[in-house]
């Protein structure tokens, strides 16, 4: 194995990139709590799955932590009031998305009293049944806080059903600029370890491996200290390399297992959760507190006071920026998330959601925009691709309208990490190509499904019509035969009676 690894390195096994991380000085600032903004907007859809269904009425008073929208369907998550106050609207507002399109949200005007709803705290949370833990996590609206926002309870239940043996806790935070996970691990390591233990119970995994990149020595030390005495929680230092925090890459790094491209992590006995999720699980189970706020990194040259902030969900980005001293200089790009995978925001009047790990105000130098040039086939993108794809070939196929060719080259395996576009000397927006093609691909698949079902319906109708006409014909034939038989019988009877007469 060691020899094979050496051989691979020899052949150039250098996936990923090493971008300048820009994490300091923001990561060195202690966490600051944002004061209550004048108004909160809670998006009904801030998780993967069906949007939450409002269970409050406009004008209703709610307490902090009270359920305001319930989960809908199997994959969904409820929403809770981040503070006490009055519901003032349930309407559309601009979603935190590059499109700038509106989506439904509940608007809450805080009353400033921060009055908590009654919460239930179990006497011994670690004695709860596995499915009880998952149920409470679901009720608290916990979703994957690394950015995926997949409902956490679904993953916990899936883990128990598919007999996973290892729980992977993602503390790698490989995105440049972001340090909210780093900060959380430094400051709240005990609570994270508590959350990890609860997740171990819930999933039935034997061991939890916490992967932390080697550029966060303070976080590693804090987590090691907190995990002391819990042999099932192992802190593993992984090399700082983007995208180490992508689940497939982290699973290979920590367990040596490779997730088949059409399978899920649970299929190889692993489930991945973020450290922020572990903290939220601890809060939900031990303190009975639903997910109503999160740590957000505010960073970039346009920020006056870069650092990590504890922000109530639903806070407008504009409020966050105003509270932290406003904008400094000229901002070229406003990004929600990290610079590698985050999305640009068309404006600042959009609310913070559960998946918001950071808000970046990048100046022109940081977010340099270039004119794309022709591909010189240098192969940098191939070396950088963590999935082993051929980005230059895929983009050439997409540019020539050959979606099938791109799919054959593995378009569906692309994780949109952005390594290829980051290293491209021709500044080709490769990820934009892949998003575009994936959009076309899913539209085509939807169309295929639709025409398939239409065809099925049409076939069924034709079959029914055929059957009906066949049955009609048969019935008619039967009646005819019966009539003929009757006539024949009548004739016979009359002739018999004639004979008799």
């Amino acid at each position: 194995m060691g020899f094979m690894n050496l051989f691979k390195t020899f052949l150039g096994n250098h996936w990923g990139i090493h971008p300048a991380d820009h994490k300091r000085p923001a990561s060195e600032q202690p966490v600051r709590r944002l004061p209550l903004p004048p108004r909160l907007h809670l998006m009904l859809s801030q998780h993967v799955g069906a949007p939450a269904r409002p269970v409050v009425l406009v004008g209703q008073k709610v307490l902090k932590g009270e359920l305001i929208a319930a989960a809908q369907g199997n994959i969904s998550a409820p929403l809770h009031a981040p503070t006490s106050g009055r519901i003032t609207a349930i309407s559309e507002i601009t979603a935190p998305h590059a499109s700038g399109l509106p989506a439904m949200a509940i608007t809450l005007d805080p009353d400033g009293e921060e009055c908590w709803v009654d919460v239930e705290r179990p006497t011994n949370p670690y004695a709860l049944a596995p499915d009880e833990i998952a149920a409470r996590v679901a009720a608290a609206g916990v979703v994957g806080l690394g950015g995926a926002t997949f409902p956490s309870s679904v993953k916990l239940n899936l883990g128990r059903r598919s007999h996973i043996d290892t729980l992977i806790i993602n503390g790698s935070e490989c995105e440049p600029y972001l340090s909210c996970d780093d900060r959380l691990m430094r400051d709240r390591a005990v609570q994270i370890v508590s959350g990890i233990r609860l997740m171990l119970i819930s999933t039935g995994a034997r061991v939890a491996k916490v992967g932390i990149e080697d550029n966060k020595p303070e976080a590693i030390a804090a987590m090691r200290e907190a995990a002391e005495g819990y042999g099932e929680v192992v802190v593993v230092v992984v090399p700082a390399r983007y995208p180490m925090g992508s689940d497939r890459q982290l699973i290979v790094e920590l367990t040596g297992r490779e997730v088949p491209s059409d399978a899920r992590a649970a299929d190889v006995g692993v489930i991945v959760h973020n450290v922020g999720t572990a903290y939220a699980v601890h809060e939900a189970i031990c303190l009975g507190r639903p997910l109503i706020s999160r740590l957000i990194t505010l960073n970039g040259n346009g920020v006056t006071m870069p650092g990590n902030y504890e922000v109530p969900l639903g806070t407008l980005v504009s409020d966050l920026i105003a509270f932290t001293g406003g904008v400094q200089g000229e901002v070229a790009k406003l990004v929600m998330g990290g610079p590698m995978m985050g999305s640009i925001l068309p404006q600042t009047r959009v609310p913070v959601v559960k998946g918001t790990s950071g808000v970046l105000l990048l100046d022109a130098r940081e977010a340099a925009a270039f004119e794309p040039e022709a591909c010189i086939r240098c192969g940098s993108c191939i070396k950088a691709c963590p999935m082993g794809l051929l980005p230059l070939e895929m983009s050439a196929h997409i540019r020539n309208d050959d979606l099938d060719g791109a799919v054959d080259l593995g378009l569906a395996d692309c994780i949109a990490c952005g390594c290829c576009a980051y290293v491209c000397p021709s500044h080709i927006p490769l990820v934009q190509y892949f998003y575009h093609a994936k959009g076309d691909l899913s539209a085509r698949q939807r169309n295929q499904l639709r025409s398939e079902s239409t065809r099925k319906l049409a076939n069924a109708r034709q079959e029914r019509l055929d059957r009906e006409s066949r049955e009609k014909a048969e019935a008619a034939a039967r009646r005819k035969a019966e009539r003929a038989a009757q006539q024949a019988a009548a004739m016979e009877a009359s002739s018999k009676s004639g004979e008799l007469a």
């Binding site: 491209s261 054959d408 952005g418 934009q432």
Partner: protein, 365 residues
Amino acid sequence: MNTGALTAQPIASPHAHGGNSVTRTMLRVQMALVPATLYGFWLFGWPAFFLWLLTILSCLGFEALALKMMGVTRIKATLFDGSALLTGWLLAMTLPPWAPWWVAVVGGFIAIVIGKQVFGGVGQNVFNPAMVARVALLVSFPVPLTQWVYPLPLTSLAAPDFIDGLRIFLTSLPQPDAMASASLLGYTKTELSRGIDLLHSLAGDHAPVLSWIGARSGSFGESASLLILGGGLYLIGVGIISWHTPAAVLAGLAIPAAIGHSVDPTHYLSVSAHLLSGAAMLGAFFIATDYVTSPNTVSGQIVFGLGIGLMTWVIRTYGGYPEGMAFAVLLMNALTPVIDRFIKPRVLGRDRKGKPLDIPETKEA
């Protein structure tokens, strides 16, 4: 598919860039060529300098003309990305240093117009433009392309001064015999064809010497093997090229040479003669590593490099021409799409054939 969205200002991530650019890459390759080029100027004097300058200028001129005729809007940016300049520079490195002016002009035309723009410009050409020009010139004008001069360092008395150099360059006067000299590969090929084996021919008085520091006849790219090697190592060091292709080319050349020489030293040149002669070093580090015309993957590059090395040895040993690097490169360029088709990186979660890996049997909890 509506491809209009692809040309719009990108909104997709990433919002950061590593800072590499085409111009920077080309600049670094040019920097790697500087020592060998300056040394070549010193060895072969003013005519060599004029040839180098005109080859580059003609490449830039034909590039500008082709871009204008094709209606490209960003002529300036494309012209100065350094690719045409580099093509001209590499071509000049492979020409006889005292070749006349029209060789530079015709070479520039063939390299840029026929070798590159006809295929669609930068990144689209199938064959290495400099090698296309080199081969076309060699086949079309064999005499000026095979007349080598013995090095006359600029400081020596016999060296032509600026005016003489210009005269030699512009008039293409036949060179005085005293200055003419054969390259090692050409000399041994001629002698072998006359029935004189290597042991005798190389021991003769007129035998060209083999020199690491380049005091022998040949092109710029040939004489200063050590400086070319240094430039190549610099490129590997800064990550512009990987070591796989050059190593494969040199191995592909050295292995058959070693076998041949050990079996029959009278007919097969030694490994050092092969590695230090002709365009071996230049080809391995600067020509075979051309991004556009070499395979994508590391494994593919190794196959490609071995092919070039082996083919070069075969042509040098059995072919009609003394040097085969340019032909070998072109032949392997033609095979590049095939290599790329069959050698692809393994996608994570898939096997070599592109099928998803098997899901392991569910383990007992």
